[in-house]
Assembly symmetry: C2
Homo-oligomer: 213 residues x 2
Amino acid sequence: MIDIVNIAPMDIEKESFATITRELGDRQPPEELAPIVKRVIHTTADFDYADTLYFSPGVVEQAKAAIRAGAHIVTDTTMALSGINKKAAARFGCKADCFIADADVAAEAKTRGVTRALVSMEKAARLGEPVIFAIGNAPTALIRIRELMDAGELAPKLVIGVPVGFVNVVASKELIIASGAPCIVARGRKGGSNVAACIVNALLYQLDETRGQ
Amino acid sequence: MIDIVNIAPMDIEKESFATITRELGDRQPPEELAPIVKRVIHTTADFDYADTLYFSPGVVEQAKAAIRAGAHIVTDTTMALSGINKKAAARFGCKADCFIADADVAAEAKTRGVTRALVSMEKAARLGEPVIFAIGNAPTALIRIRELMDAGELAPKLVIGVPVGFVNVVASKELIIASGAPCIVARGRKGGSNVAACIVNALLYQLDETRGQ
């Protein structure tokens, strides 16, 4: 027999978070970080993230301040952009964009023999706006962010560094951690556009809850 | 020292697949399934999928035939839709859609107290077209697909059943496996919109390679 539980749509997420909390056992994250860690596990069903998520000191408060100030959210994939709750972001005046499919980005990447993700980060840096980067796919995006920081051309409000993969992924994440930028990073190979979007949403929802209190 | 490898964009995927093949060791999937299994691991960096992906007998050939015949690809999330290579799909005359954000779907879900995902599957069934379902989020979508099949109102060409989560996810996938529909299912809790899109793309790319031969 296949056992389907009868549950109202609005209760599914609540029940899921209760299961995650229960199964985390003695690996409960610090209170401030718990909503983010648990939402990533909710998005992936992968408890590895309880151990691999790195948060720079004070990053949650910095991220909240950036959102309240209406920072521009920039992703490296249209899929991450698609997963971000744009209605929740708009409540704080935060626009969300991805430049990877822009014609100018594609043309320049081809000419220079680099990834479109890299060029799309340069485009974001040229905005001259406070930016929250949500990077779920391209290590080259993280590497370029670090280079632009080192050159004094970029000071990100937050870098969500969670690309997934096998080539330069681990190293690119360590570059961001070592940069001193406010960051949330999934150490190791795992991550993804879904994880990047989920972390943005977790931050937005935390602020919404604060408002409701 | 953080070690970044210098690699051309076009070589990153090739190198990643070589790493995956190497690390799979003696867990290599059957030749016909390997491009799908490896692309899912490429998308998630999670080797669990080497064990959890279920393929109904003959499904790859059935899926390819459905694509060649221009089946309508329907997802349960805009994120999965966003991850599907629409250019590759269009080459076979395959449209890709997600009905979850449609106003009529939202209104009906609210009235009936069910998920929008469920109602969006009914909308897909009413198309009366050959449909490939790519479900990466909502167990309720899979459950409704099974119910519509049992009622004789739906005969999907393929069900990609890879929702992620903690409530009814495992059971909903088993319902699809037991239905007899051509299906590719990630058994257990893991999956996601990224995985759903990735399986669609893996099928599309296999057909493109055939064409190139």
